[in-house]
C-alpha cells in the first residue's frame, strides 16, 4: 500500500512537471494553503489550521519533525479544475453560477505519515463554501490586469510584423541586413513599452494579495485516516481507520492578522477545537500561534492540548513552514516539545 501511495504521489508530481507550461515573471495571485489538508489531518504540519487556500495547481508537501528525515509526503490538487475548468475560457467561467464556480475550488489531498514502524495514510476532500476575496472571480481585478496595448505599442508591433513579412521577399543581402537591424531596434523599443504595463500588473497583483490575504472564508471537509502496523506494502488491510469531518472558517483582525477557527469531529468520539492567529503581510509570509484542544465528546473528558508556534516564508518556488509543537496533557503539564518543518512546492 505504501509503495502504491508513493508511486501515485510520484506519478502526480511527474504529471505536474510534464503539464507545467513555461512560467512567466508574473506570479499567481491565488492564495495558497500552506500545507496540504491531508497533512493537517495527520497532524503533520507546523500549523494544523492553515490559512484558507484555494490552490488550483498541484502542490507537494514534505514534512519532517524531531530532526528525522522520513518519507512523509503529501500531494494536493483540484481534480475538477483539472478535468473541467482548466481549458475553459474566462468569459465562460465568468458566466457560471456560483455553485459551479465553487466546484472548481474543491481540492483532494493524500498524505503519508510514518511513526516508527507504524504508518498512517490520510485522504482529505476540502470544499470552500465562501471566500470574501477570490482573485479568479474578481472582475475588477481581472479588468485591471487585462492586456491593454497602447496605440504606440500596436504601431511598433505592426511595423515589426510588416518588416518581418517583407524579409522573405528581399533578395539583396545588404537590404536584408538593414531590415533585420531595423526589426531588432523596434523590438528593443517594444520591450521598453510593454515593460511598463507588466510592472504595473505585478504591482496590482501584489497589492491585491497584501490587502486580501486575511479576508473571510468558510471551508468544510471530510477525510479518512487509515492506520497500519508496519508498512502498508506488506499488508493492505488497515488496523483501523478514522473518518473525520471539519468546519474551518477565518476572519480578518485588522490589516495584518487573520484569526481562523477549526472544529474537527473524529468518528472515534474525539473532537478537536482550535484557534489560530496569523500575523504578517501575506498568506505565505506570516507568523502564527495556535491552540488546539482534543476532547472525548461522549464522556466529555479532555485528552490533551497542543500549542503550535511558528512561521511561514517563501524561498524561491518553495514555501517553508517552521514551528515548535508543545503537547500538554489534560492537567496542562508539558509532555512533549518537538520542532517541526514543512517544505511545500506548488507547480
Amino acid at each position: 500500500m505504501k509503495s502504491l501511495c508513493i508511486f501515485i504521489l510520484l506519478l502526480l508530481s511527474l504529471s505536474a512537471f510534464i503539464q507545467s507550461p513555461v512560467k512567466t515573471d508574473l506570479k499567481s495571485a491565488e492564495f495558497n494553503a500552506n500545507c496540504s489538508t491531508a497533512f493537517g489531518l495527520l497532524d503533520m504540519s507546523p500549523a494544523v489550521i492553515n490559512s484558507f487556500g484555494s490552490y488550483k495547481e498541484v502542490k507537494v508537501d514534505w514534512f519532517w519533525k524531531d530532526n528525522k528525515i522520513q518519507d512523509n509526503i503529501a500531494v494536493e490538487f483540484a481534480p475538477f479544475w483539472y478535468l473541467f475548468y482548466n481549458k475553459m475560457n474566462y468569459s465562460t467561467f465568468e458566466k457560471l453560477p456560483y455553485l459551479l464556480k465553487k466546484v472548481s475550488d474543491i481540492t483532494f489531498s493524500l498524505g503519508n505519515k510514518r511513526i516508527s514502524t507504524n504508518y498512517n495514510f490520510g485522504l482529505a476532500l476540502n470544499i470552500n463554501l465562501y471566500k470574501q476575496a477570490d482573485p479568479i472571480c474578481d472582475t475588477n481585478l481581472i479588468e485591471m490586469t487585462k492586456v491593454k496595448r497602447t496605440d504606440e505599442e500596436k504601431a511598433v508591433m505592426r511595423l515589426i510584423m510588416k518588416k518581418e513579412m517583407k524579409l522573405d521577399f528581399i533578395d539583396d543581402p545588404i537590404q536584408k541586413l538593414k531590415l533585420k537591424e531595423e526589426i531588432s531596434a523596434l523590438e528593443d523599443k517594444l520591450d521598453i513599452i510593454t515593460e511598463k504595463q507588466q510592472v504595473a500588473n505585478k504591482k496590482i497583483i501584489a497589492d491585491y494579495k497584501k490587502k486580501n490575504w486575511n479576508k473571510i472564508f468558510v471551508n468544510i471537509g471530510v477525510g479518512n485516516v487509515f492506520h497500519y502496523h508496519l508498512s502498508p506494502a506488506y499488508n493492505l488491510t488497515p488496523l483501523n481507520n478514522t473518518v473525520v469531518v471539519w468546519l474551518h472558517h477565518g476572519y480578518p483582525l485588522g490589516e495584518l492578522a487573520l484569526i481562523s477557527i477549526l472544529t474537527r469531529f473524529y468518528f472515534t468520539q474525539l473532537i478537536c477545537n482550535g484557534v489560530n492567529v496569523r500575523f504578517g503581510e501575506s498568506d505565505v509570509k506570516n507568523a502564527f500561534i495556535e491552540v488546539l484542544s482534543y476532547n472525548n465528546f461522549v464522556d466529555r473528558t479532555l485528552t490533551h492540548y497542543d500549542l503550535n508556534i511558528g512561521g511561514v516564508t517563501p524561498v524561491k518556488d518553495f514555501k517553508i513552514s517552521l514551528g515548535f509543537k508543545f503537547v500538554f496533557d489534560h492537567e496542562m503539564q508539558l509532555k512533549e516539545l518537538v520542532p517541526t518543518y514543512n517544505f511545500n512546492l506548488g507547480f
Binding site: 499567481s28 488550483k56 481549458k87 475560457n89 468569459s91 481581472i142 490586469t145 510584423m161 510588416k162 513579412m165
Partner: protein, 118 residues
C-alpha cells in the same frame, strides 16, 4: 535580447478558398492580439482584425491563390490566479484542422507561411 518569441510554420493546403483560424487561450490569460495577412499582389501587410482573446475567436482568411503569410501577434498576460500564458492557433481548411501552433510567451508572433498545392 528581445522578449518577443517568434514562431514560423510552413503549411501546405489543398484548397486556399475556405481557410480560417481559431484562436483560443483556455483558462490561462487575457490577450490583445491582431491578425494580418500578406497581400502578395500589393506586397503589403493587410489587417484582418484586432481581438480580445477572453473568448475563442474565429477569423476568416481571404482566398489564397498560390501562397501567403498569415500573422497572429500581440501580447498576453496571465489571469490573476494563473502563472502562465498560452495561446493556440488552429488553421482550418473548411472543417478539418491543418495545423495547430501554440505560444507560451507574453509577447509573441506566429507566422503561418501558407502554400496552396497547384
Amino acid at each position: 535580447m528581445s522578449t518577443i518569441i517568434k514562431k514560423q510554420e510552413n503549411i501546405t493546403v489543398d484548397n486556399g478558398d475556405k481557410l480560417h483560424l481559431v484562436i483560443d487561450t483556455g483558462f490561462a490569460c487575457s490577450g490583445d492580439i491582431e491578425v494580418s495577412y500578406f497581400n502578395t499582389d500589393k506586397m503589403e501587410m493587410e489587417p484582418l482584425g484586432e481581438f480580445d482573446v477572453s473568448d475563442e475567436q474565429r477569423v476568416k482568411i481571404p482566398a489564397i491563390k498560390k501562397k501567403t503569410k498569415i500573422a497572429v501577434y500581440g501580447r498576453l498576460a496571465p489571469l490573476p490566479g494563473k502563472k502562465e500564458v498560452r495561446l493556440t492557433v488552429w488553421l482550418y481548411d473548411d472543417l478539418s484542422v491543418v495545423q495547430a501552433i501554440r505560444t507560451e510567451s507574453e509577447l509573441f508572433s506566429i507566422v503561418l507561411d501558407v502554400s496552396v498545392v497547384q
